[in-house]
Point group: C2
Chain length 356, copies 2
């Protein structure tokens, strides 16, 4: 008997919900027939859609929730209104209750993070959650975090992100000791902030316990794929991610303009159609959809709200992979192997945190 | 009689110096025959090169400096060793002495910034200098600063960058009221740092005095060209710039791979050669070479150290444009129009840093 993997899904989150969500789940099921779904949301909207996908229907259950969190609702508002009742909250609650391994929602990020933190609570030893992105690079996909769950991070929080990120990398890339780099600026003497230097010292001492510490990396090392895990504070991570997205779109637009610029280039583009389609697919943001909320007692995946069924399928696929590789257990294990985390954290000296 | 524009040039700065520097100057002279150059560096290396470019030779003077700052020298070391003697220092000194309008060096950034700050001193009313980048976007070139001259910035420093950046935009783009945006993250309630919010309030009140305040922008607004001037703290600016460079290289590499993937795509690439060359030129980092050090009593341009004559020509061209449009006067004018700056600035060391 094949073990089933159950995902808890907010059917109402995102601009194209619930249709794109349900359709995306059907695409995942076609690839992984041991996937099971608990959909949360308005039954009267979900049921007719499930009737369109009979295979999915028999792999799903629906939990009716009247309340839906709007995309522009403030986190505090959403929490007041939707705690214990909304499709977003109930999606997370199912993970807390052990009914599903991972929760997925395309709803608004701030509200989802607030609810996830409130419902699941931070893991012991982790002060604040982070959002990890899977970032395609020239070498392979890598993990970058934090993407903006928390603004500002002290050395200890950066170390937490390194632990969380390397646990995620171990799950995704099947590598027992992924390399970790701290994002920094490379201007000689003034090598960045004190918190980053301090985190570098701690990680350097702990290197080998579930990850290999590489050192500082710069902005262009992300695209090169210099390390498996890039750790940074949330403000910087968010700006880096969006700047990269903007640049990719910009270059794509240059390319389209160039290939339409004259008759010869149009003919050239015709000949190269299959290659250009492959390139387009490679740069399709829908195929790497999903921010992973980490550091809580349970995994929540945030899908882009504006995506379609292909994008949802990617987010659900990410959730599926994490459930199957048991991400939470891997994080736990990494924490236990990490020397600093084993001992009570001291404010001053790293030496006493080192095992004898 | 045509007015001449004199640039002070560190002939020894950068990996391919002095050849690439001299050759680059010759390329600029071919375009602007009223350009004049003061080269600083080792006469025995510069003279033979100038003999290869007779037109340039007659438009140039050479100032011998024995000391050359190495690319890996620490700023403090460089300052001790090279103050008053090195080619880098003397390049800046010529601007201070009014012999040239703008200084250009491809030498190491940290040393150049230390020397520029020490020699030229911050402008009255500006606490710390910033580095501005000219950033190509889908709409047009824009100004982004700070690129890492200073790590961390309070609200007042961000406002200073807005003033400096809009003065630069007025020079470069011939627009009397460029739009200014503050780089921020867009997660609803937690809209970024207190310093950014405060800067937003100040800029909003001052909008109309030499610039138009647009509001917050996100990382992907840079590539879109949403505003003419993007203002951010130096750490974030440096990471954003390098991440964008990395992404552009990554996409370029994907494209090359795709076009070589099969016979049809190779044929297609052949047909589209001219369009692809135009694209390559558009994405050539050498054509937008030059970080502008701003907020000092004089303008210094940092060229990439690893570039060739084409790159140096771009940096020199940027310097030429700034000298011709009288950037320093434009900054001064913007400062005077800015309401906050008209009032005495809070009690710190800015006034005494000005030479009498």
């Amino acid at each position: 008997m094949i073990e089933t993997i159950t995902l808890s899904v907010d059917a109402m989150g995102g601009d194209n919900a619930p249709r794109a969500v349900i359709h995306g789940a059907d695409l995942l099921l076609k690839e992984h027939n041991n996937a099971r779904f608990i959909f949360h949301g308005r039954q009267e909207q979900i049921d007719p859609l499930l009737n369109e996908f009979p295979a999915l229907k028999s792999a799903s259950s629906v939990r009716h929730c009247e309340t839906v969190i709007a995309m522009d609702e403030k986190p505090s508002q959403a929490l007041r209104k939707g705690r214990g009742t909304s499709s977003m909250w109930m999606t997370i609650q199912a993970v807390k209750d052990g009914e599903a391994s991972v929760a997925v929602s395309g709803g608004n990020t701030g509200a989802l993070m607030a609810m996830a933190t409130f419902c699941l609570r931070p893991m012991e030893g982790i002060a604040r959650p982070g959002i990890a992105a899977i970032w395609p690079t020239l070498r392979k996909d890598i993990v970058v975090l934090d993407m903006g769950a928390t603004i500002g991070a002290d050395a200890q929080q950066l170390v937490d992100y390194a632990i969380l990120g390397s646990a995620l990398a171990r799950c995704l890339f099947d590598d027992e000791s992924p390399t970790v780099g701290l994002l920094n600026v490379g201007t000689e003497e003034v090598k960045g902030l004190e918190s980053i230097k301090e985190a570098g010292r701690i990680l350097s001492d702990a290197s080998g316990s579930g990850f290999t510490y590489h050192g500082f990396v710069e902005g262009d090392d992300i695209g090169k794929g210099t390390v498996d895990v890039v750790v940074t504070e949330g403000f910087v991570g968010n700006i880096a991610l969006k700047t990269a997205e903007g640049t990719a779109r910009q270059v794509g637009s240059y390319l389209r303009t160039a290939l339409k610029s004259n008759l010869m280039s149009r003919i050239g583009a015709l000949f190269a159609t299959s290659a250009l389609n492959a390139l387009r697919k490679r740069m399709d943001p829908r195929t790497v959809n999903g921010g992973v909320f980490m550091g809580l007692n349970g995994i929540v995946i945030k899908s882009h709200g504006g995506t379609d069924e292909v994008g949802y399928k990617s987010a659900l696929n990410l959730a599926y992979g994490m459930a199957r590789s048991n991400l939470v257990a891997k994080i736990d294990e990494t924490m236990k192997r990490f020397p600093i985390k084993a001992a009570p954290v001291a404010a001053d000296a790293e030496s006493e945190a080192k095992p004898a």
